[in-house]
Symmetry: C2
Subunit: 117 residues, 2 copies
DNA sequence: CCCCTCGTTTCGGAAACAGAAACACCACGG
DNA sequence: CCGTGGTGTTTCTGTTTCCGAAACGAGGGG
């Protein structure tokens, strides 16, 4: 499983369109979350593990390699930190954060638990 | 694996903070992509399968159930379509699309393939 | 020296996923 | 009437991904 990178065919799309590569990369478990946790500043591996309850070290390091290879994060003396590109991604993700808040409000109003028991 | 919903503890976070629920939901394979494909209008299940090369029907229906249960999509005479909430998500995802384009440019410039061989 | 913390890798079992096959359903044409 | 082909959906089997714990080496302080 190659690291998704724009311009290169990725899982689910032979075109390599940037958004497809992004969705392949971010559709891997914990990828978005790791970037999210690095927003505020550099964190070490064990610190990331502590913040992401349920994340296993094996997957963490796999993601760290992928995100590094994708140019979103970089090792630093203080652990891992976002690159300039990773920082702009953090900003691009902010609307998603705001949307999630709206989502929460809507779910409380209509259909409290309307689905699988 | 319960469908992530804001306000409910999800994988990786006992707080149920909206953004965490969102990241749990979207960190599942094809979830973002399915929403993306529904942006332009309703699509049937087999049409979705055709557009997402590599997506298996079993996972598709699992995602369709999850996204429906989360209030992002709804069955319609024409297949599945975004709810109002799902549509706003599509808009919240647009910065991500633009970011991906920037990402593609940067990757072409520096470090063409600087990682795993 | 010992102990504790960190970063990282390894490994066995569990969960998620891919892919093909199958079923039910409905419209169409022989 | 019976096939043919198009949907939507489920089930099954093998592979991939992931979890979780354990382990390793390196470095710092008692």
């Amino acid at each position: 499983m190659p690291t998704p990178r724009p311009g290169v065919p990725v899982r689910g799309s032979t075109t390599g369109r940037p958004i497809m590569a992004a969705m392949d990369l971010f559709g891997r478990r914990w990828a978005l979350r790791i970037l999210w946790e690095l927003r505020a500043g550099p964190l070490g591996a064990r610190a990331l593990l502590a913040r992401c309850e349920g994340l296993s070290s094996s997957v963490l390091y796999q993601r760290l390699r992928e995100l590094t290879s994708s140019g979103l994060i970089t090792p630093s003396p203080d652990g891992y930190e976002l690159t300039r590109l990773g920082t702009t991604l953090g900003q691009a993700l902010r609307p998603l954060d705001e949307w999630a808040v709206t989502w929460a409000r809507e779910q409380q109003q209509d259909g409290e638990d309307p689905g699988e028991a």
